[in-house]
Symmetry: C2
Subunit: 313 residues, 2 copies
């Protein structure tokens, strides 16, 4: 198995990415090769310090870098030799089983849409995130920012995609789908949410348990939380910040610590023809390590193929 | 000053309401009269237990009760002798300076719209809530559930109303307004949010600091958080549940404890011709006490008149 990593992506790249890659390589079996894509000489130098060495890391040179603030589409069109463009090229060609980056989120999303492309039948690929639960298990929330507004049929598809993800990656047999809303009753919320409720209720492919509310982010009521990208983004950033504020105030707790972005590692793009994870811009080596381990998990079950099959059946 | 309290409103009414009213009466000066509206005999019996007695509490009899699950409009049309209907009647007639209830939220909102009515020029009255900040001060978030979807001009008006509230109730001189969004850049978010951003930027009545994000609920970046009722509801319920989960896990902290609904007390309805607070359905005596203290604060500065004046100028 080969996992490509954008060595130049993230606020603390390439240093943090290389350190994180080495941390991951220590935990992964020797048949998992990690491919660092970026400026070869820079990576070589960082890798060759005595403390940083591993056998299962390869380097692929990329002359260019998509910077964090760049316009996604423009950057990708112009910088065909960037680490993001090359990573997607390798993923598309089947040279790697997964690609991950803590770089420009927009460019990663656009890159997925233009290179490996959306799975046939997928209306809007989305970004997802694991949601820790008190019993130690995880759920998944989608979308968390790729599509600020979503129509009912798009939200319905998120429910189907999220259920497949929860089954194959989180090991949940019959994942419970909840629609994020402002009350339990069917007629609650916006027109879009009311229509979505009806679509989800009628969909036999999923286990819809009804509307859930803000308080259920922390409960174990639903395994798959469905919402538009605006709402999911607000929820996720709020949950991450709860950990930050607690940490700052000297409150330590293993449950809330799981909401630390470093522990979650990254956000899978779901609904595209390949296994892709986007990491947090501020990723530390620990966050990078967990992003790579998540990419490995996705590659292992080849989650994108499961989604593809489910949508064509 | 007279404050009317719906003695029959809330899951634990009338017991919890009466206990809470007595707690409030102990803290309030003797010129603040608390008017309990509800079934006189029931209230009398509860008040006349030896431990429960106060001089500044009056009872106004209400034969009927709007139950928690009832359809708001239907209930209010049919139950003209309910505690909610009578409370609004007294508020409209100027017999009391504020009215508060932990009962049927929908009925309280509809009651406001049909009795005291929206202030001229207010497109959509909204529900608001205080948001505790780490430095000990408070901000305000609006809407938190009255209007699931909002157009840009409605959100703009929330910003104006919230600023007046922050000035007069929270004592903030030049309140900073933040638009809840998924990134700092102007072009982030839905079409509605993008348009709202432009309206807020151009509005000279407010101190717009730009977009804020989910993580800023806990930061002190903005004093007035503007969002639609769906988003505000998700945020508030999530924040309340953080306290609940922490409490359950034995984590005690004075900052997060302020997010306990009991401490916040209630949600003012803003943009109507009167001072109205809606309490949480599950209100305990402590929550009722704080709901009454909030109503008193609103009555003191007659906040609804400040909003009315600001909108007509």
């Amino acid at each position: 198995m080969k996992i490509a990593i954008d060595a130049m992506g993230g606020d603390f790249a390439p240093q943090a990415v290389i350190e994180g890659t080495l941390l991951a390589s220590e935990e992964l079996p020797s048949d998992v090769k990690l491919i660092l894509i970026g400026k070869e000489q820079v990576i070589q130098e960082l890798l060759h310090t005595p403390t940083l060495a591993s056998n299962n890391i390869e380097i692929i040179h990329a002359e260019e870098v998509v910077e964090m603030g760049e316009h996604p589409t423009k950057a990708l069109t112009q910088k065909t030799k960037s680490s993001i463009a090359i990573g997607y090229g390798m993923l598309k060609a089947g040279q790697v089983n997964a690609f991950c980056s803590a770089g420009n989120t927009g460019a990663m999303h656009v890159g997925a849409m233009f290179s490996i492309k959306a799975i046939e039948g997928v209306m809007r690929p989305c970004l997802s995130s694991h949601v820790p639960k008190e019993d130690g298990s995880y759920g998944v929330i989608l979308d968390i920012g790729a599509n600020a507004e979503c129509k009912p049929d798009v939200l319905e598809q998120f429910a189907v995609i999220g259920s497949i993800y929860a089954k194959h990656i989180l090991g949940i047999k019959n994942p419970r789908v909840g629609l994020m809303n402002i009350g339990e009753e069917e007629q609650k919320g916006t027109q879009i949410l009311q229509s979505t409720h009806q679509l989800l209720k009628a969909n036999s492919k999923i286990n819809f348990i009804g509307n859930i509310e803000g308080r259920d982010v922390y409960s174990d009521k639903a395994d798959v939380i469905v919402c538009d990208g605006y709402t999911g983004n607000v929820i996720l950033k709020m949950a991450e910040s709860v950990y930050d504020v607690m940490h700052k105030r000297g409150l330590e707790d293993e449950f809330f610590a799981k909401f630390n972005y470093e522990a979650i590692g990254g956000s899978p793009i779901l609904g595209v023809n390949g296994n892709v994870v986007i990491g947090h811009g501020v990723s530390s080596p620990l966050a990078i390590k967990n992003m790579i381990l998540l990419a490995k998990k996705m590659a292992e079950s080849n989650i994108y193929l499961n989604i593809k099959q489910a949508l064509s059946s």
